[in-house]
Symmetry: C2
DNA sequence: GCTCCCATACTCGGATAATAACTGTCCGAGTATGGAAGG
DNA sequence: CCTTCCATACTCGGACAGTTATTATCCGAGTATGGGAGC
């Protein structure tokens, strides 16, 4: 049970986009930032676009930019965009084939094992939803005040 | 990011073992309970044995039994036994290749993105560790008082 | 009748294929650019 | 000099292989059983 490493790429790329201040950045530039395979990062950014987290523009001067304020993008939004909505635990409703199992009962909701696992999943999601990109960005700036400028610099954007 | 469906099998099988009251149950019987592939369930039970959650005995009258009281086996124990210790988020430390990245820094601990993801993971684990097999079993019995007897019956164990 | 022994059937355990998911790559559709031609 | 048009280069987007993890299966090592032979 490991999530795609695209999640790490997406989170860091979103932070960099936040520091780009609304200017479009190409997948190639974002990939060069951490020396990642550009075509594959592009794939992850497409997922973010489908989820409405970033907007994409084709052609010269095109690229990706955040679709809304970083304060309104949670870590959960990004994780779900890459990994999908479904929760980690898979309830295949094996109780249907057990003693007294009924095919007209949805054991994803009634099985107590499934309920317990869902509670844990919910705690996880709650924690992810409580943190926004703006929160992380601000924390990074507190620790490394030069980070935003360094990022803009590496993205070939005017320093300010 | 989906966990193996072996987790569902392992959890339900552990509950059934709890109701078996210390008597050994074969992988075949446990598999027949929910009409699962026996050889593959056996594989998952081996993982539980390696983790010290169940003990195994070979030969006739052999099988698996819980290694300790169900009140001292948490859902986290079972999940970790099947899925492994590592947390879901993979920090490949891409910041090492970013601006100002240092190869002598462990970004799994210092990167703020990684820290945020770890916090969520911790909340998830805390929730799983708070529930024991005995808790789930008791909740099931409250809802379906006949469940333990039905289980023993299907496992070809003396009703009591 | 009792004890010992051995063949047997049964169980787990790890090694081996089949399948699906993830990772990585490529090329085409569409677009803003920038220069050249014409007025 | 200004406007219009077009060729160009650049970007995302989805379609296509390579690799790893998951799922499923099989057969061998070891063990308690149960019957039979011997005392």
């Amino acid at each position: 049970m490991q999530m795609s490493e695209g999640v790490e790429w997406a989170l860091h790329s979103c932070l960099n986009l936040a520091w780009a201040d609304g200017r479009a950045v190409t997948a190639g530039k974002l990939a060069a930032f951490y020396d990642l395979p550009a075509a594959y990062l592009n794939r992850q950014l497409q997922a973010l676009a489908r989820a409405g987290i970033v907007t994409s523009t084709s052609g010269p001067r095109g690229g990706f930019r955040l679709a809304r304020d970083p304060a309104r993008i949670t870590l959960l939004d990004v994780v779900v965009a890459i990994e999908g909505e479904q929760e980690a635990f898979r309830c295949r409703q094996i109780m249907r084939d057990g003693p007294g199992g009924r095919s007209d009962v949805d054991y994803r909701r009634h099985c107590l094992v499934s309920q317990a696992m869902s509670r844990a999943d919910l705690a996880w999601r709650r924690e992810l939803a409580a943190q926004t990109l703006a929160d992380i960005g601000a924390a990074v700036e507190r620790k490394h005040p030069g980070a935003p400028r360094a990022a803009r610099n590496r993205l070939d954007l005017p320093a300010d």
